[in-house]
Amino acid sequence: MSNQTFLPENVAISKLDELANWCRKNSLWPMPFATACCGIELMATGASKHDIARFGAEVFRFSPRQCDLMIVAGRVVMKMLPVLQRIWQQMHEPKWCISMGACASTGGVFDTYCVVQGVDRFLPVDMYIPGCPPRPEQLIQSVIDLQEKIQREGTLEGREFRTEQRQEPKRSLVELPIVEDPRKLRERFAKSLA
């Protein structure tokens, strides 16, 4: 005789961690840190055609004290980065970060003197969305993936944030040498082709 026959229908048994994860993942309230063009796609995702509220991201609270998911949508400039860090610090644990778009993930098309080449150099990021700008469906897919990640790895007290892998400082990919004049680079290649 299994235990299940003794339980009425309206009772479920689960681990506390899984319950907490289920609650947290289905009510991720985004903090839209919209800086540029990705911000428009973020607004479009929140509008009626692709509705992100279906996935629990009901309210786009602009106050960091009331959010748990920061979506960095758009390029982050060196003047804006301290503001971004300050807002990240103001959010309560547990908190997650989605870096939306090419500019937030790696600097995108803007490899210039003022754009930060990837927000993950200065903030811990959980999800990266490629695209310039990513379609709203991609943003929704990343929220779904983040929900799966939370369900898989989350704990009630947030122990998953203190693991070794999460604390390791991220190294960037190959640090490209600063080329003073890319046109000279092109000339060098042209000679090798000729």
Partner: protein
């Protein structure tokens, strides 16, 4: 409040997190201690992304406003000196990202003027259509966001739904919802297929109904009128003195529209009117944009019905646009032209001179000052950004109004942060 910010700054050690010393000095040195300082932005729902204004308030009344910009400065003009003319069009998309096609058209108009190329009639008509659809898209977002900021959420959703329809048209035409990079030097990227023309015709039929709905929501709405009438009044002489152009100047009585005064592309062929008002307040700017959308729809209708046949890019004699593949594979001139354009260290010839060309973008006069140096990379690509010039008006417009008027005025000025900071 200023001392708190200062101690925070000292803790951060080295980097000033929240803006200029000048703003903090202004706040601290004021002897009247009932004046308080409010930091508006750069992360705030109503600052249309990354603007910061330091407001000095007496209760709710704004005594002074100090804009602090640069939170999205990405080095566009420096990039213009390293990317060639056809690559830079992708960057121009990211300037006024609400109407990227207008920026593409402005950029390539300037490049073709510098090079002295005349584009084909079909290309001109398509560029006009795309520019006007971008104008409708921009105005929809501007009035929608203005409505949202003063509290009208349904209005915003109606506007956004129509923008989704426009995104669908743009996606069918050039493959991307926005950030299209549709124009190329000497022509366009893709031609308009019959499907696109059908979609545009459907849009022309259905859009006026939405505009009527939007008008019914807000035109005679007492709350909206109270929040926007006589708020942020800009007089006619001040508009020209502060270099305002576009709907903001037209709402103040300056009857200047580059489409009529200095016709470019094929605007001279179309019959349309330019709305102007004299009151110069937020409500006037709102009305000018609403009526401009109807006029733009008229232009699109006339252009679609009279779209000339023919190639969209200039011929191979000009040696600027990639020739169609049939020519490349079947004639030696086509092959040579393709080779000359695509291989490294070749590309097209640009004169060693400078010129300026502007279009009437949805925000105002958007122009590019280009300095060519013979190669296909610009020596200097300067963008004359209407949002930057209009944001300088903000302190003047807001003095004496209340805190809640800040959002109304900011919404009516249509400041796009990427164009503001470049």
């Amino acid at each position: 409040m200023a001392t708190d910010l200062q101690s925070v700054r000292q803790r951060e050690r080295g980097y000033l997190p929240l803006g200029s010393q000048h703003a903090l000095d202004l706040a601290r040195d004021d002897e009247r201690d009932y004046i308080w300082t409010l930091n508006f932005g750069p992360q705030h729902p109503a600052t249309h992304t990354t603007l910061r204004i330091v407001l000095k308030l007496d209760g709710e009344r704004v005594i002074d406003a100090l804009p602090d910009i640069g939170y999205l400065h990405s080095g566009f003009e420096k990039l213009g000196e390293h990317l060639d003319y056809n690559q830079y069009v992708t960057i121009t998309d990211r300037m006024n990202y609400i109407s990227p096609l207008a920026n593409n058209v402005a950029w390539h108009n300037a490049v073709e003027k510098l090079m002295g190329i005349e584009i084909t009639p079909r290309c001109k008509y398509l560029r006009v259509i795309v520019c006007e659809l971008a104008r409708i898209s921009d105005h929809l977002l501007c009035v929608g966001a203005m409505g949202l900021d003063v509290g009208a959420f349904t209005f915003f959703l109606y506007a956004f739904y129509q923008r989704e329809v426009l995104y669908d048209i743009f996606e069918t035409l050039c493959g991307a919802r926005f950030t299209n990079s549709y124009t190329r030097t000497g022509g366009l990227f893709y031609d308009a297929t019959p499907l696109v023309i059908e979609k545009i015709r459907t849009f022309i039929k259905r859009f006026p109904a939405t505009l009527d709905d939007m008008e019914r929501l807000l035109y005679r709405n007492r709350i909206f009128q109270d929040r926007t009438k006589d708020v942020g009044v800009l007089a006619k002489e001040e508009a020209t003195a502060w270099s305002a152009t576009g709907p903001i100047a037209r709402a103040s009585g300056v009857t200047r529209d580059l489409r009529k005064d200095e016709p470019y592309l094929s605007y001279a062929d179309f019959d349309f009117q330019v709305p102007c008002m004299t009151s110069g307040d937020c409500f006037a700017r709102f009305l000018v944009r609403m009526v401009e959308m109807r006029e733009s729809l008229k232009i699109v209708e006339q252009a679609i019905e009279n779209l000339p046949m023919g190639p969209i890019s200039v011929g191979i004699d000009e040696r600027t646009a990639l020739p169609p593949k049939e020519q490349v594979w079947q004639s030696i001139e086509g092959l040579i032209s393709h080779f000359e354009l695509v291989m490294t260290n070749r590309g097209f010839e640009v004169p060693n001179d400078e010129c300026y060309d502007a279009i009437e973008s949805p925000n105002g006069e958007l122009g590019f000052y280009l300095v060519g140096d013979g190669s296909d990379v610009a020596y200097r690509a300067r963008c004359r950004p209407p949002s930057f010039i209009h944001f300088a008006l903000f302190p003047k417009l807001i003095r004496g109004h209340t805190l809640s008027d800040v959002v109304a005025v900011l919404g009516s000025l249509n400041i796009i942060a990427a164009e503001l900071d470049r």
